[in-house]
């Protein structure tokens, strides 16, 4: 099957311990950030399902918008923040050769 590959196939990464540990590290960061988000998302779904009345309460320090909107917007912003953190963490690690350029 490998003979079918055109010469411009995906660039192979180096067979080095550095590259391997680098990928492991990215994956670990990913799992931790994923679990953080999952906790907030599960909390949001749980509150909506089992305490929908609580979502009505206005949040005074947010101009009085209710908790449902504040939490929902918060989840969207949290996703952005975690994505940015992930990008920074992965950038901080040694970029293996051929691993994109900034």
């Amino acid at each position: 099957m490998s003979s079918q590959f055109p010469p411009d196939g995906p660039a192979p990464e180096p067979d080095s311990a550095i590259a391997a540990s680098h990928i492991t590290r990215n994956a670990r960061y990913g799992i931790v950030l994923f679990l953080i988000y999952l906790a907030f998302y599960a909390g949001f779904v749980g509150l909506n399902a089992f305490a929908p009345e609580r979502m009505k309460a206005p949040v005074p320090w947010l101009g009085g918008v209710n908790f449902a909107i504040a939490f929902g917007m918060g989840l969207i912003i949290l996703a952005l923040i975690l994505a940015a953190i992930y990008l920074l963490l992965c950038r901080g690690s040694v970029e293996a050769p051929g691993e994109g350029e900034e």
Binding site: G9, E13, S16, I23, T24, A49, V65, A79, G100
Partner: protein
């Protein structure tokens, strides 16, 4: 229906330039890697915005805005769930998938096994999920073209089908990517402009025009209605309703309410299909019949607020009273009547979950009623990273770093857009531009909102909505094309094809899938777009998520386990959907109370089922020796997999 020449002009410019760009860029894609993966040379930022263009389908743009405009907060729940799915895609799936695959996600799943079972099941799953997802897109296209160009639904569907097939056949993934990039950029830019205009305009109080009233008691010439309510509701005809025949022959429906007799805004469909609004023939006197949603009272009783900030806009809507309408359907001797009963809703009740028919189970004390909501939110969370047309986009960039960066760019664009949906939806609701009597208007909230500002904006937003459909549909057809030509024909059936033949096979499949999509779009035109997308997420998550996750994180996963999980996940979720009350009602035209499935969203059962099947089958089919090929740990030894699916 008259068409606006300006709208047609703007529409032609948009579609023409999108096609032109696709032809121009498509010259390059000649070999299989060009056709299926755009040579892996798409810059990460372009790919990121193309993610947004691929993902923000007609359901997102039209469906969510419409749902917010009609029911308030519940539409925003879709926005939150759709975005949350990207967290899974970025943190868990993106980099390994890029490392393991070549053209399709079946490549990635099959990377360490070389199993025909995996290839076939993953390809069938791709094909079915893509077709499922295609239906709402095509239905949305038909709904859009109708008010914009004046064509009937069928022509709209055929138009989209034809244009998209041309785009895909021209240059496969290259042209698809750029169409999605252009569409994603336009969508975010113009929705931002529209939102700024909403905030600048602020909110206006527009109390409903007074309804004609009579003193209580049965007026002369009025007859009680022999009402026949729809099958779903208990058979109790409203006793306080009367039909009153006017001197000119028009039949008005009145109801006795609060000590007075008031005329109802009604839409009557006679047996011959002719329609009357409030007793007048269609189109003769629209002014007397305008049940549009609007703000009835602003906080403090002011007439208008002036420009508002993003937070104060939401807070003001929350503290206002909204004029809305609930529909009541019954049959009378003059035809099927839909009566629109005025209803005042407090903003505080509107901006909390549970207001729409889809999510009303949230407010029920019964646990099983809440399961629908939890199940859908789970399916949206896990479904994004399981959608084949999203996953193939990881093969159009150079490497894992580019995959990671493009996902973050995609998340930024998508997150920003979903924040805007709340303003667009509430803007449409409060503008008085949304006529609730037209069911298709639930999909037209954003264009109608634009129309309330000016014609040019309406034309632009409608054209963007149309390109939205084009972008997503081309992605779906690409995914289906890759599944058949690459996974089934080349890898499963082992048909010997030259690179050129493979591209032609892919193009042929694209044409066939395009034709199937057109047929489905015409056959299912009555179904609600965002609901169907929710179902597609259920199927995708049930079939693909267990296989993807366990392959990456569990060493003992076997090829039989993956094949079984995909097959069972696909079959169980599809079977469940075919047994729901919605399928009974809209697909088989049977009474929904006969439906077997206790709730509509299967994800909460079928996603765990896929995981269980995978674990059980993998343990049963465990290789005898401990360091058999199954011991390959993807995360720990990425460099091994990075050679692509070569063995």
């Amino acid at each position: 229906m008259h068409t606006d020449p300006l709208a047609v002009f703007v529409f032609l410019i948009f579609v023409g330039s999108v096609l032109g760009i696709s032809f121009f860029l498509g010259r390059k894609a000649k070999d299989a890697r060009g056709y299926f993966a755009a040579h892996g040379e798409i810059p990460w930022f372009v790919n990121g915005i193309a993610f947004a263009g691929d993902y923000l389908s007609a359901a997102s743009f039209l469906g969510i805005c419409g749902m917010i405009a009609f029911y308030g907060y519940d539409g925003f729940l879709y926005s939150i769930g759709f975005l949350a799915g990207w967290v899974v895609a970025l943190f868990v799936i993106a980099e390994p998938l890029k490392r393991l695959g070549r053209f399709t996600f079946a490549d990635a799943l099959d990377n360490r096994f070389n199993s025909r079972g995996i290839k076939l099941s993953a390809a069938i799953s791709t094909l079915l999920v893509s077709l499922f997802y295609l239906i709402p897109q095509m239905v949305g296209a038909g709904a859009l073209v109708k008010p914009l160009l004046g064509f009937p639904h069928e022509i709209g569907v055929l138009l989209v089908g034809a244009i998209v097939t041309v785009i895909v056949v021209t240059a496969g993934m290259v042209s698809t990517t750029y169409v999605q990039f252009i569409k994603g950029s336009l969508l975010v830019i113009f929705c931002t402009i529209l939102t700024i205009m909403i905030l600048q305009k602020g909110l206006f109080a527009q109390p409903a025009p007074p309804t004609a009233t009579l003193p209580a008691g049965v007026p002369a010439g009025a007859a009680p209605i022999t009402a026949v309510p729809p099958a779903a509701k208990p058979a109790t005809p409203p006793p306080n309703y009367f039909a009153l025949t006017q001197p000119d022959g028009a039949v008005q429906i009145w109801r006795e309410h609060a000590g007075k007799l008031e005329v109802l805004r009604t839409m009557t469909t006679a047996a011959d299909g002719s329609m009357h609004f409030a007793g007048f023939p269609d189109g003769t006197d629209p002014k007397t019949f305008a049940p549009t949603s609007r703000i009835a009272r602003l906080p403090g009783g002011v007439a208008q607020t002036g420009p508002l900030g993003p937070v104060s806009y939401l807070a003001t809507v929350q503290n206002s009273t909204i004029q809305s309408w609930s529909a009541e359907k019954f049959k009378t001797p003059v035809g099927a009547v839909t009566a629109y009963i005025p209803r005042l809703i407090a903003g505080t009740d509107l901006l909390v979950p549970g207001g729409s028919p889809t999510f009303k189970g949230i407010r029920s004390p019964k646990f099983t009623d809440k399961l629908d909501f939890i199940s859908l939110m789970l399916a949206l969370f896990g479904g994004t990273a399981s959608l084949p047309h999203i996953l193939i986009r990881y093969y159009t960039v150079k490497d894992q770093a580019a995959a990671r960066k493009s996902t973050v760019a995609g998340i930024a664009a998508i997150a920003f857009f979903y924040v805007l949906t709340l303003y667009l939806g509430l803007g449409a609701m409060s503008s008085g531009s949304l006529d609730v009597t037209v069911p298709a208007n639930s999909n037209m909230a954003a264009p109608l909102l634009a129309k309330s500002f000016n014609r040019v904006l309406f034309a632009i937003i409608s054209a963007i909505a149309f390109t939205t459909v084009l972008g997503t549909v081309s992605g779906l057809i690409m995914a289906a094309s890759g599944a058949v030509a690459h996974d089934i024909m080349t890898n499963f059936l082992k048909i010997e094809m030259s690179d050129h033949q493979k591209v032609n096979a892919g193009k042929l499949v694209a044409v066939v899938v395009g034709c199937i999509a057109m047929l489905l779009g015409i056959a299912f035109k009555e179904l609600n777009a965002s609901f169907l997308v929710g179902w597609a997420f259920n199927v995708a998550a049930s079939a693909n998520l267990p296989a993807l996750i366990m392959l990456l994180f569990w060493k003992k996963t076997t090829k039989q386990g993956i094949t079984a999980a995909i097959t069972i996940g696909l079959l169980s979720s599809l079977t469940w959907l075919l047994l729901t009350k919605e399928a009974y009602q809209y697909v088989y035209k049977l009474p929904p109370t006969h439906a077997i499935a206790p709730f509509s969203q299967p994800g909460i059962l079928t996603i765990p089922l896929g995981f269980i099947v995978l674990v059980v089958v993998s343990l049963l089919t465990r290789p005898k020796r401990e360091e058999a090929p199954g011991g390959f740990e993807v995360i720990e030894s990425g460099e091994k997999g990075s050679r692509g699916p070569a063995r």
